[in-house]
């Protein structure tokens, strides 16, 4: 075989390799023209709902009512609730800095929620009891607004929330630990 053939085969192999690499890393996306992505706006029903937000301050539970945009999408509702609660907590000076909800997703079974924050919501200087009750405030708010999930996994930028005292490697039960002694 001549040197020219080797060069040609090498170039073809290189081109195929680059193509497969581009497909693998999704630099190139191939979509069938027969595939139609249908968006049915009627499947998402939204409306206003009076929601209850709970937080712990001065050794007792406080409740605030807020009207939120409610839909039949559980993840959207949890996102709305936690965002509203974080705003309330910020107004009450219970957070050291402004915290936002990055994204919320539900597991395929719909029983576990993944809540990802843009910063760690637990202040480093707080005592464990304060940090714990901040988490319990979120769980109670989700629970009392009738969202049917069992566990919540708390994340920061899609990684488990890291704290020296509280363990977030496992999901927290929606009922929390407050009534367990």
């Amino acid at each position: 075989m001549s040197g020219r053939k080797y060069t040609l085969i090498s170039l073809i192999a290189f081109a195929i390799g680059m193509l497969l690499c581009a497909l693998h890393y999704e630099w190139i996306v191939i979509r069938s023209p027969l595939e139609v992505i249908a968006y049915n706006p009627e499947s998402v029903q939204t409306g206003k709902k009076e929601t209850k937000l709970f937080f712990w301050k001065h050794n007792k539970w406080h409740q605030e009512t807020q009207s939120l945009l409610w839909s039949n999408d559980g993840a959207h509702n949890i996102s709305q609730l936690i965002s509203a609660l974080l705003n309330v907590l910020d107004d009450e000076h219970l957070l050291r800095k402004k915290i936002g909800v990055e994204s919320v997703a539900l597991s395929p079974s719909g029983l576990q929620a993944y809540i990802s924050f843009d910063h760690n919501p637990l202040p480093k200087e707080s005592n464990v009891h304060q940090k714990w009750l901040l988490i319990e405030s979120m769980l109670k708010t989700i629970r009392e607004n009738g969202i049917k999930i069992q566990d919540v996994q708390f994340l920061v930028y899609h990684e488990p929330l890291s704290d020296y005292h509280l363990d977030f490697n496992q999901p927290w039960p929606l009922n929390g630990f407050l009534h367990q002694k």
Binding site: E125, H129, D167, P173, Q180
Partner: protein
């Protein structure tokens, strides 16, 4: 790394054994990397270390049957699960985690915690088996609950602070420990106030161990 191998003899009869020595492991919060919270002009890790050393002295002074082990030296780095690993290998009788935070309250609080996960109604099998590290506490869950309640009851009689608990919580410093493991978080108005906790804590631990027949 994530599994703690457990053997059938591990869930031994904790309360009934008459022992020559009782090993208490004391874990002062923080390490070379984790400074902990700021209390006055000090970091939590320094105060917990002082308290741990003083508590160890008090416990040993109270009973010659007690051996104490402090989980770290002042400038040591403690990797995750190292304390659990050592506590399980040493087969300690009690694990104590000490934590401090700052307060402006006129009367400081103390909280007592023990480890729990959501599914702690599960019973571990008694024969040779593997269990995940976060369920190791189930071996001595009942005795931990009793000890924590008794210690909290004794601490609640203190006139210098308010004791609360014991609460069940996924408290990270206690994860993976088979022996009864209890954490204390104590509020300090001033960095030197840790001494007000050491004596009542030592007395509560000693009295509880005597009540359960572990100490003569």
């Amino acid at each position: 790394m994530f599994l703690v191998c457990t053997v059938s003899i591990l869930p031994r009869s904790w309360t009934t054994r008459a022992q020559k020595t009782v090993t208490i492991m004391i874990d002062p919060a923080g390490d070379a990397r984790q400074t902990g919270r700021t209390i006055g002009s000090n970091f939590e890790r320094g105060i917990t270390m002082q308290c741990a050393e003083h508590l160890a002295q008090l416990l040993k002074k109270e009973s010659s049957a007690i051996t104490t082990v402090i989980t770290r030296a002042p400038a040591e780095l403690v990797p995750e699960l190292q304390n659990a690993n050592y506590a399980n290998r040493l087969n300690v009788d009690l694990f104590i985690s000490l934590n401090f935070c700052h307060t402006h309250n006129t009367r400081p609080n103390m909280w007592v915690y023990r480890y729990a996960q959501a599914n702690d109604f599960l019973a571990l099998q008694t024969q040779l088996s593997f269990c995940s590290y976060d369920q190791a506490y189930l071996f001595n869950n009942k005795i931990t609950a009793t000890l924590a309640a008794d210690i909290e009851r004794l601490l609640a009689t203190s006139t210098q602070f308010d004791a609360h608990g014991p609460y069940k919580l996924p408290f990270k410093p206690l994860v993976g420990i088979i022996a009864p493991a209890i954490a204390f978080e104590m509020e300090l108005k001033d960095e030197a106030d840790w001494q007000t906790y050491a004596e009542p804590l030592a007395q509560a631990i000693i009295q509880t161990l005597r009540k359960h027949g572990v100490l003569p």
